[in-house]
């Protein structure tokens, strides 16, 4: 089958739909290719906390300078500028799709960069715009609803969706200009060739290509119970279909490679904790993983100021830097009582629980009935170390020192807020083995400020653009593991890529 259009978009997640929206607004013919038989990207599994920078030069400039500094001036500033200038469009678009955004935090100009407005969930530096929640339908996620409504809207406006049809190649003419794509329908096996002048790669990360993950991020995938050796990574979204297809095609055409990092959070793996989506919890242990108590590595050593244990970027980066990429949150009977009677110190807004109930009962169920190998409850520290594999001498040395800090009200190592200094002395002792779990990866494709895919020499591949997680390394500089990806980055870059592709099409018309 041979088809013709102006613009082909590879992927129907947040970056893809916003690119399509921008191009349709300028009267272009658009085809969205999605390799899965249904619409949406990894974000379909995500309850969305949305950030939007106001359409105001002062706010945009403040956010720009903050983000550029955050990258150690290693990011492409033109890429950051695209993000801050297009961020406001996300709110307008989502609301145009008939989806309500609930404002949760409005920042004034002087608040930008103040970590207290980041509220732990995103990296602290992400206090650079107004926050919204996008509630999903039923028990579902806002991201899924956005992608579904966007597909309906794009088709209604004349765009085409090619579901279950992966793009297998991007074609260029003798001058290296994009002039088409090849695709194949997974069901009918029919080969499709599309003539087009521009392609936007919006196909997300590499999370499900294990060889790429090992090669580019250093993480080794494991089974559901994280029983493998080496640095393991628990995959939050086992069906997101993100196998680096766009990165591979860009690189094949000579596009430059960038660093790829994991966008992660902290998670106890194994049965009984979460369902196939990390947003369905079976008990309250997910809330325990947020708490600012004692966190150690397998050598029994502290590795972070636990005050920021609810900052998922911070904790997952810390965890992934530890031996075997594992960590343990450890607390004792007195803290168990504190969690149940006084209440939690950090509430995770997705699972709002003020006071935990029957922690021993929940732990016993996980250990005895669910067979979870990452949850421990013992009478002595010695037993805890035997069962968990934490080095006993190391942990005892840490406890001596840490309990002293608790007694004195001062953390001499990491300066943890004294109100979170809770000693670990009195059995039973509780621990959970926590890994860095991946939402997605960020990076791989190098782009310029027009979102054009560029070669090592900095020259653009004419007609080829990228948006979303696959080019986020240009936003972060060298992205840290745990760097936040997210819908609120993907959509502005989708708009920007759509606009730039339209400029290119109109210039060549």
């Amino acid at each position: 089958m041979r088809l013709k259009t102006d613009l082909v978009i590879m992927g129907s997640g947040m970056a893809g739909i916003s690119a399509a929206d921008a191009a349709l607004a300028r009267g272009k013919k658009v085809m969205v290719f999605e390799k899965k038989p249904y619409q949406g990207g990894a974000v379909s599994n995500c309850p969305i906390a949305y950030l939007s920078i106001r359409n105001d030069k002062d706010f945009q400039n403040a956010a720009f300078h903050l983000l550029y500094e955050y990258s150690n001036y290693n990011a492409n500033p033109s890429v950051i500028r695209q993000y801050v200038n297009n961020s406001w469009r996300t709110k307008e678009y989502i609301e145009r799709l008939g989806i309500k955004m609930i404002p949760t935090q409005k920042l004034e100009l002087e608040d930008i960069g103040n970590p207290k407005y980041a509220d732990g969930f995103p990296p602290a530096i992400m206090a650079h715009g107004d926050f919204y929640l996008v509630p999903g339908r039923g028990k579902g996620h806002g991201g899924a609803l956005i992608c579904l409504n966007a597909m309906k809207d794009i088709i209604k406006r004349g765009g085409q969706y090619m579901l279950n049809t992966p793009i297998t190649d991007i074609l260029v003419d003798e001058n290296g200009k994009v002039n088409g794509v090849k695709a194949v329908n997974n069901e009918t096996k029919e080969e499709i060739e599309v003539e087009c002048e521009a392609v936007i790669i919006a196909s997300g990360g590499i999370m499900e290509d294990r060889e790429m993950m090992k090669k580019y991020t250093g993480f080794t995938f494991t089974d559901y119970n994280c029983s493998g050796d080496g640095n393991v990574l628990f995959n939050c979204y086992p069906n997101s279909g993100q196998t680096g297809d766009g990165q591979k095609l860009a690189w094949k055409l000579g596009g430059a490679q960038t660093a790829i990092a994991v966008s992660g959070h902290n998670l106890v793996p194994g049965p009984g904790i979460v369902a196939s989506s990390p947003w369905i919890v079976y008990n309250e242990t997910r809330t325990i993983q947020e708490q600012p108590y004692l966190w150690v590595n397998k050598n029994g050593e502290r590795f972070i100021d636990e005050s920021i244990s609810n900052n998922h970027m911070a904790i997952s980066t810390g965890i992934s830097n530890q031996p075997n990429g594992e960590s343990y949150i450890v607390f004792d009977e007195d803290t168990r009582r504190h969690l149940e009677e006084d209440g939690v110190d950090y509430m995770y807004f997705i699972f709002p629980v003020e006071k935990l109930t029957d922690i021993p009962g929940q732990f016993k169920t996980l250990i005895n009935e669910k067979g979870n190998k990452h949850v421990f409850m013992t009478d002595t520290i010695e037993e805890l170390c035997t069962q968990s594999g934490i080095d006993q001498a190391g942990l005892e040395e840490t406890l001596d020192r840490y309990n002293g800090y608790c007694d004195n009200g001062e953390d001499e190592e990491f300066g943890k807020d004294a109100k979170y200094l809770r000693p670990v002395r009195k059995g039973p002792f509780y621990a959970m083995r926590v890994f860095c779990a991946g939402y997605d990866t960020i990076g791989g494709i190098k782009v310029n400020g027009k979102m054009q895919v560029i070669r090592e020499d900095g020259k653009a591949i004419p007609g080829l653009y990228a948006a979303g997680d696959n080019m986020m390394s240009e936003f972060y500089g060298n992205p840290p593991t745990g760097g936040s990806a997210g819908a609120y980055f993907a959509m502005p870059f989708g708009f920007a890529a759509g606009d730039s592709a339209c400029d290119y099409l109109e210039k060549n018309a």
């Binding site: 899965k36 619409q39 379909s44 996620h141 579904l148 069906n239 369902a275 196939s276």
Partner: protein, 63 residues
């Protein structure tokens, strides 16, 4: 009563997580499967709840 899952289901697994007695995630075929062709009477209420909880209104009940 039958349970039908529309093609635009996003396979998020919420129905599987909440109602494993009725749904299963088939990762090989990349789909959510209903465990019954004909729904037992005692699971009809469960199916209604699943339809209510679905992220994208992909679960339909047909008499």
């Amino acid at each position: 009563m039958k349970v039908e899952i529309k093609e635009y289901c996003v396979r998020c697994g919420i129905c599987v997580g909440l109602y494993p007695q009725l749904f299963a995630h088939n990762f090989d075929k990349d789909c959510i499967e209903v465990k019954y062709d004909e729904l037992p009477a005692d699971l009809e209420e469960t199916a209604k709840n699943a339809a209510r909880d679905c992220a994208v209104t992909a679960i339909y009940l047909k008499k």
